[in-house]
Symmetry: C2
Subunit: 206 residues, 2 copies
């Protein structure tokens, strides 16, 4: 029951990685099939045979991004000992990965809020859920800190999570505009300056 037929001559994962970079840099619509096939070093029939269509390739590229690029950003949320360290780690890891050499600046999923025009409804729903998922993960981490008594009961995890994700998304824009890692780290530290005040109740009130 081995593989039948002529074997594929290219590395599917490597080609997907190249496609991810093109979509990451240009977005969905502005990445042409010619751009993709050139970056992947294959002809378009091979691309269609292996990935189905431009949009299916895009969806695989998003999944590949989530599987390979986002863990470095999210792991501090799981591993940091305190809620504050979790948030700070999240922002500092974002500063690092948003400016990683050899990769397009910023976050592909954040960019997709703006440059996934032309993509189908279902794909857009998935992307939106991935972005909302960041808020949920941070909110959960803060909620656990409240439950553990580390943060006061009147603390508003959703408001604070929304705020820090917003900062991170802004950092993605800044990275796209050329901000270096130290600049993004400076912004992250400025955002953390809000922490002590946010830990006190009354943040979300009108």
């Amino acid at each position: 029951m081995a593989e039948r037929g002529r074997p594929r001559r290219f590395d599917r994962q490597a080609a997907l990685d190249r496609a991810m970079e093109i979509f990451w840099e240009r977005g969905y619509q502005a990445a042409s099939m010619a751009d993709l096939t050139e970056a992947m070093s294959i002809n378009s029939p091979s691309l269609y045979a292996a990935f189905g269509s431009k949009e299916e390739l895009y969806r695989e590229a998003i999944a590949h991004f989530a599987a390979t690029e986002s863990d470095a950003i999210l792991s501090p949320l799981r591993e940091a000992k305190t809620a504050r360290a979790a948030i700070e780690g999240y922002l500092l890891a974002s500063a690092a990965t948003f400016t990683r050499p050899g990769r397009p600046p910023g976050c592909m999923v954040v960019m997709s809020a703006v440059n996934a025009v032309g993509v189908g409804d279902e794909t857009n729903r998935v992307l939106r859920e991935m972005r909302a998922g960041s808020i949920d993960m941070i909110e959960d981490r803060l909620q656990r800190a409240v439950a553990a008594g580390e943060l006061p009961a009147a603390f508003d995890p959703h408001a604070v999570a929304s705020y820090y994700v917003t900062v991170q998304q802004g950092m993605s824009i800044q990275a796209r505009d050329g901000a270096s890692r130290p600049v993004l780290e400076m912004i992250a530290r400025a955002a953390m300056a809000a922490w002590d005040a946010l830990v006190l109740p009354r943040v979300a009130a009108a």
Copy 2:
């Protein structure tokens, strides 16, 4: 010396306003000439006669945006009595204009950092300068507050300006993802929670 020739049958400013909305919503490349001519209710020869090319129309749309949409956001920076009120007014005005009914969500110039792919170098340079200009305006306002003794000399206007512009750009992404005005205002207030700590020196240090 009145106008020679057959008079234009459409309102140039109104048509430009429609074109701005299309570019604002979709970005440069994903906005097709068919989209534009339909929204502007003109045929493509009229568009080319009046605006020159798609990219020239885009540049006029950006200028139109700057002239009509951005003052509401920037005026607090000129008019607020204190530096803190200036920043807070900037963020709250952003929350309002990013969710204005009948307009695409978020800021067209912020979006252009991601969706102006395919535009010429010169146009991209103008857009980048507009985004950097926001930091400069806030930095100037803070610098004046330092000069006036309202803020301590060790205060870092550039770092704080970069931080608040980053928050505002993140709010633009959030708006694009459907965040309402109250949600954005909540985020703005969370960002302002950093103010007291930022006013103390040592923010930008490593």
